[in-house]
């Protein structure tokens, strides 16, 4: 169950192109599961940015010197994340979490591939731990525009059986995209599940490859959100239900983790004609 917490900043340090921000989190870590996210509000009344910003939970600790705490990985994008990356120790910031559905964990100890694009790797490390506790073999593919935008290399090496790196500019690992080494890695590891987090086109391409190999693809999507808690309906995308009917589902509460096969990737940003409630179903 999500909790609202008046948090204070424990630390804010650089990690390549990103800021690694540690926050007191009260009881939020108690119910946290890998894949869930938190939202931060930007400043107080003097702020013109009224919407909260969403961030995957990278680390969560339910007890420590500061009681519960979490860590997030933040890329300075616009005004809001700029403000967040400038937070200093002891600054206070209002946080809400854990939000959204977590990654599903397989019952059996099957092999899994975890794929992160840029800061998209943030939620994958706690997932890797959960999978290993389940006895799963875990392999990583981390990709980014350039080496600066790779996050969590060392941790991936610590947790993963193999770690493949790709960068678009070749500044680290092999030149290209995370999808390039994927087919071969699936084969080599005979993995049954792929977990991925990153830009939509990446999630879509990964799911295509998973389908071709008849294995699962669980994706963490990133849709613009106004509320993050399921009340505003801004964060929807077309997803096919058990009953085969397409619905506009809220990525904040029905996601952000979706079964990639069920997401109508090519129709994201549209309301497909036969969608429930479109008048044509």
């Amino acid at each position: 169950m999500p909790i609202q917490h008046e948090s204070s900043v424990i630390s804010n340090s650089r990690a390549g192109a990103y800021h690694l921000i540690s926050l007191t989190a009260g009881d939020i870590p108690k119910s946290y599961k890998p894949g869930q996210f938190v939202t931060l509000s930007i400043d107080g009344l003097a702020s013109s940015l009224i919407l909260r910003r969403s961030f995957s939970i990278y680390q969560a600790q339910d007890r420590g010197v500061y009681g519960g705490s979490i860590e997030i990985v933040v890329a300075a994008h616009g005004e809001g994340t700029k403000w967040i990356t400038q937070l200093r120790r002891n600054d206070s910031v209002n946080i809400v979490g854990p939000l959204g559905k977590p990654f599903p964990i397989p019952k059996d100890p099957v092999s899994c591939i975890l794929i992160g694009g840029g800061y998209g790797s943030a939620p994958l490390f706690r997932l890797a731990e959960a999978l290993k506790n389940r006895g799963c073999r875990v392999d990583f593919i981390l990709g980014a525009q350039n080496s600066e935008k790779l996050f969590g290399l060392l941790e991936a090496r610590r947790l993963g059986h193999n770690v493949v790196i790709t960068t678009a500019d070749g500044s680290a690992g092999q030149t290209g995209f995370v999808t390039d080494p994927l087919p071969e890695l699936i084969e080599k590891t005979s993995s049954q599940v792929i977990y991925s987090c990153g830009p939509m086109p990446m999630l879509s391409a990964i799911t295509e490859i998973a389908k071709a190999n008849k294995i699962y693809s669980f994706t963490a999507v990133e849709e613009a959100m106004a509320c993050g808690i399921g009340v505003c309906m801004t964060c929807v995308l077309p997803v096919i239900g058990e009953d085969g009917v397409t619905r506009m589902l809220r990525s904040c509460v029905d996601g952000p983790i979706f079964n990639g096969e069920k997401v109508r990737w090519s129709d994201v940003g549209t309301v497909p004609s036969e969608t429930f409630g479109s008048g044509n179903h």
Binding site: P2, I3, I50, M233, T234, G277, S278
Partner: protein, 313 residues
């Protein structure tokens, strides 16, 4: 933990057509769904109640994304009234609310006068409903998609169609600020038999993506909400109250703090509804109630009612 309102020594009660509510603060339509999600953050029985997302006759998929664009101290939304339709709503959402004794104002929206009539018919004899909010700030497909609330005649027609079926439950008409003379529209729906007014809905706005040079929202225009529009809401409430000393007014539009709430009440609002501020702070309705009570307590004012209409003289 779930927050609760605290009125201290101040009488924060709100007379809602004879029903005495412990708080004047409601959630605004479309900003609280049907309450379930918000119940994680606050005790919904401790605030005035919930105004549910405007529901239509049929299930509705809504608009394509992007549906939202943040603007200075506000946001634009173009959700397109996504919802499950009235039948599902009554069976699931309304029953969830009534089981928990959460005071509920049901907001309805129609594409045609006929649809408003059918929606009203479905809401007949539902004692669990506190009131019905008729959202006439939506496009009228029979009149070049012009918003019902932007014309005194279409506004009246929509409201009459509902009143026809609803005799024993208070009706509120929700008006749009995008009119030359909101007092005229208010007068027309009052004549049509509404018991109160919800002031205000969003302002029509647009944002353009300066990378693509195309509108950000899939629908082009959207509704502007949030603190940015508060001065327009206060003005509309004040104008309507000045013209109609008796009508019940549910005030909304940029409400974010207790101080904002007092502006609305002094301007003439009987109750308040909180929308966009919930996105910023999911427990905003409770916080706002408490801030009002504290501010009045500090001033040694013993009841909120005594502040109502104070800005008129």
């Amino acid at each position: 933990m779930v927050t609760k309102t605290n009125s201290g020594a101040v009488d924060m009660s709100c007379d809602f057509f004879g029903v005495k509510l412990a708080s004047p603060v409601f959630t605004a339509s479309g900003c609280a769904a049907s309450g379930k999600e918000l119940s994680n953050f606050m005790d919904l029985t401790s605030i005035g109640g919930v105004v549910t997302k405007s529901v239509m006759l049929e299930p509705r998929a809504g608009r394509a994304t992007p549906r939202m664009s943040e603007t200075p101290s506000g946001m634009l939304n173009g959700i397109g009234l996504q919802g499950p339709g009235i039948d599902y709503f009554l069976e699931n959402d309304l029953s969830w609310l009534s089981e928990r004794k959460i005071a509920t104002i049901v907001s309805i929206a129609g594409n045609t006068v006929e649809e408003f009539s059918k929606l009203a018919y479905k809401l007949k004899n539902r004692p669990e409903i506190l009131a019905i909010e008729v959202n006439i700030s939506c496009p009228n497909v029979e009149n070049r998609n012009k918003v019902f609330a932007c014309n005194p005649v279409t506004a009246q027609d929509a409201v009459k169609a509902v009143r026809k079926h609803i005799s024993n439950v208070p009706l509120l008409a929700k008006l749009s600020p995008d009119v030359t003379d909101i007092v005229e529209i208010a007068g027309s729906v009052i004549k049509a038999g509404v018991n109160g007014l919800s002031l205000i809905n969003t302002l029509l706005g647009m944002a353009i993506d300066t990378n693509t040079f195309k509108p950000v929202l899939s629908g082009g225009t959207g509704g502007l909400s949030g603190p940015a529009i508060r001065p327009v809401a206060v003005r509309c409430i004040h104008q309507v109250r000045a013209a109609f000393s008796e009508v019940f007014i549910l005030g909304s539009g940029g409400l974010r703090t207790g101080s904002d709430g007092l502006e609305f009440i002094a301007a003439g609002a009987n109750a308040l509804s909180v929308g966009t501020a919930i996105f910023n702070d999911p427990s905003a309705p409770v916080r706002i109630h408490n801030e009002i009570a504290e501010k009045l307590g500090n001033k040694k004012i013993d009841s909120l009612a005594s502040v109502r209409n104070a800005a008129h003289d």
